[in-house]
């Protein structure tokens, strides 16, 4: 006698118990602490905060441990928590021109006010595995120096002085959109597009950005500037009538400068692609800036030559929490639909074989 499979509840409970066991691993190895993750896997924490769009290092570290280091799973955990949080308001725009800079480079000028500052970068390291790390060797402190009295204005502000680059846009009626609070409607304004890009999957954006460099919507980019450091976050309090400082966050900003030959409406000038991401996330910020510029093709009347310029395609598929959910949902049972297909294929197969059995003439191709 056949007994329908039961016991889904017990199976799920047991699976989760085993998952918790595997996550912890060998109990004789000390368990990870949040501060270890925050201090020593800082870039993973930053990615988790950026794509999870919640600036909270402890929660990101917790998510990374809980997800066994699977960053997309960790981002998902952070997002699912973030969505339950109340919104108190929207901050005033952060002023990256007043950033406390840890790293700042420009590829367009040899030297500039505020100087070039390499900061903690993998650039120019030789990618040789370092056994002293495994041996927990001593690590020297970083060189410290007093903050430069000289301000480091943004490169785009320097260029803007000559009128050679398009100005900062102004948000319509001073409000920015929020795709986590209202459904998207294409075509999008740039504020929503930038929000989507900032939350988007680093790998997906990297691939798209790369495609623009290889000729699928080339935009002649230069790194005008990348800067990493801390900025003040301020919130307007209506009762007070002025903005109060909520604290500082670390961000990475990338401004790509792109050629533009001009149009009937605008003189020849440089245009911009913009990237801004929580934490230190240079690859993501650069990819975001390239994608932002590619997605402005219509605005500048440029030919649509690559997938990176297709707003609906890019924005609909860049979110890794959405992508992974829908790809992985194929694991769920689909046997009802499969049964329907099975029935159809069997019927069509029977008809096909009956026709073959008649034997006199082979099946005709439609084109004949």
């Amino acid at each position: 006698m056949y007994v329908a499979v039961k016991g889904g509840e017990a199976a799920i409970a047991n699976a989760h118990r085993l998952l918790a066991d595997r996550r912890r691993g060998d109990r004789s190895v000390p368990a990870l602490r949040l501060d270890q993750i925050i201090e020593q896997l800082g870039l993973a924490v930053d990615r988790c905060m950026g794509e999870g769009s919640l600036y909270d290092k402890e929660l990101a570290a917790l998510a990374i441990i809980q997800a066994r280091g699977d960053l997309i799973e960790a981002i998902f955990l952070v997002r699912a928590y973030r969505t339950t949080l109340p919104r108190f308001g929207y901050s005033t725009p952060v002023d990256t021109g007043k950033m406390l800079i840890e790293r700042r480079i420009s590829a367009t000028f040899k030297d500039l006010p505020g100087g070039q500052l390499l900061g903690p970068t993998f650039d120019y390291t030789h990618r040789l595995l370092d056994p002293t790390i495994a041996e927990n060797g001593a690590v020297a402190e970083g060189e410290r120096r007093d903050a430069d009295a000289e301000q480091a204005p943004r490169v785009t502000d320097l260029l803007a002085g000559e009128g050679l680059i398009e100005p900062d846009g102004v948000a319509e009626n001073g409000e920015v959109g929020d795709l986590t609070r209202s459904p998207l409607e294409f075509p999008l304004d740039r504020d929503l597009r930038l929000q989507a890009l900032a939350r988007g999957d680093e790998g997906f954006l990297l691939g798209l950005a790369y495609s623009t460099q290889r000729g699928y919507a080339r935009s002649h980019p230069f790194v005008g500037e990348i800067r990493i450091g801390e900025v003040d976050v301020e919130l307007d309090i209506p009762e007070l009538g002025f903005a109060v400082n909520l604290g500082r966050i670390k961000v990475t900003e990338c401004q790509m400068v792109n050629q533009f030959k001009g149009s009937a409406k605008a003189p020849p000038q440089f245009t911009r692609g913009y990237g801004l991401v929580f934490g230190q996330a240079e690859r993501k910020a650069m990819s975001m800036a390239l994608c932002d510029r590619a997605l402005r093709a219509r605005e500048f009347g440029e030919d649509l030559a690559g997938i990176a310029q297709d707003e609906e395609f890019v924005i609909s598929h860049l979110d890794n929490v959405q992508s992974t959910g829908f790809v992985e949902h194929l694991k769920l049972p689909h046997y009802v639909d499969f049964q329907a297909e099975l029935g159809l294929v069997r019927r069509m197969r029977a008809e096909y074989e009956a026709k073959q059995a008649e034997g006199d003439e082979p099946l005709q191709e439609a084109a004949e």
């Binding site: 329908a4 199976a11 049972p333 689909h334 329907a340 069509m348």
Partner: protein, 294 residues
């Protein structure tokens, strides 16, 4: 910090969000078959695993409701178990597996065999709400097509099926026209279930979380499967009855018994099947009732 995380609102969603979703639902009911965009939230289960249905259910459920959750027609498939446990935890509601007792039934891929009654709400989990999506990938285009009632492309697709295969080769997610206006995706239910939607006494709500759309079929609404005069719509028929309860005219799952091609067919709707067996119906593989009791 982490201790504060433990608190969640009744049915998980905050009241603001519920109100937003209820407004979308009301609009959807007012325009049967029309896909209403809504600000879908991130849920604690993955997109594509029923987040749309869960948000709809969370917005309409109250402490007095009786919730039934099915996946593939069964109450005990893993994802149905998981979603039912979610609501039992965050809303502390009574759950049931009996179709007739449920006030809200959340489903994936099936409509229960038992005819639904006035007062019941069927909540569908929808992966791709747009019936025209596989003909036209752009949302900007498909919205225009709906607005202009331009459904020629869909009929061409069905016609091409007939020209190539001698029949319409769509077996599930079979498109329907609602109240003579909007072409609608019934979600990936087998077309066997399409006639159950027509003038149903129950309210039917559809939630697509990842795609951020809600649509609805109010009670007693016309739901007609698309077809042609010379190729009328027809549902699947099974050659044998359920091997456990002997039911005919129901949707069956094929279960493979061995590696020599042995198989049996059993009801996809597990509650329906159990109920019949409790009333003494026996299929050919159900065994003798006394044996089973021992």
């Amino acid at each position: 910090m982490t201790a504060a995380i433990a608190h969640y609102n009744f049915a998980y969603l905050d009241e603001q969000t519920k109100r937003m979703i209820r407004r979308a639902i009301l609009k959807a009911i007012a325009i049967p078959g029309y896909q209403v965009p809504f600000a879908s939230r991130e849920m604690p289960m993955p997109y594509g695993w029923g987040t749309g249905g869960v948000q709809v259910t969370a917005s309409i459920i109250g402490p007095d409701d009786q919730l039934k959750v099915i996946d593939q027609g069964a109450d005990d498939t893993t994802n149905a178990v998981s979603i039912r446990a979610f609501f039992a935890k965050v809303a502390n509601v009574a759950t049931t597996t009996h179709t007739s007792e449920a006030t809200i039934i959340q489903t994936r891929h099936r409509i229960p065999e038992e005819t639904l009654k006035t007062g019941q709400i069927l909540v569908y989990q929808v992966p791709i709400p747009e019936p025209l999506r596989f003909l036209e990938p752009r949302e900007t285009e498909t919205r225009k097509m709906h607005a202009l009632e331009e459904y020629g492309l869909m009929h061409v697709k069905l016609y091409e099926d007939i020209a190539r295969h001698g029949r319409i080769a769509t077996t599930y997610a079979y498109p329907v026209k609602v109240e003579g206006r909007y072409v609608m995706d019934p979600s990936p239910t087998p077309k066997f279930d399409n006639p159950k939607m027509h003038r149903s006494q129950a309210l039917q709500l559809f939630g697509a979380g990842r795609e951020k759309r809600i649509y609805a079929v109010p009670p007693f609404t016309d739901v007609v499967s698309l077809d042609f005069e010379d190729h009328p719509f027809e549902i699947q028929h099974f050659d044998e009855p359920c091997a456990l309860c002997g039911a005919e005219g129901v949707y069956l799952d094929e279960v493979i018994l061995d590696d020599h091609g042995g198989h049996m067919f059993v009801c996809s709707d597990t509650d329906f099947c159990e109920d019949r067996r409790n009333h003494g119906h026996r299929g050919k593989l159900a065994g003798h009732p006394l044996e089973a009791a021992e």
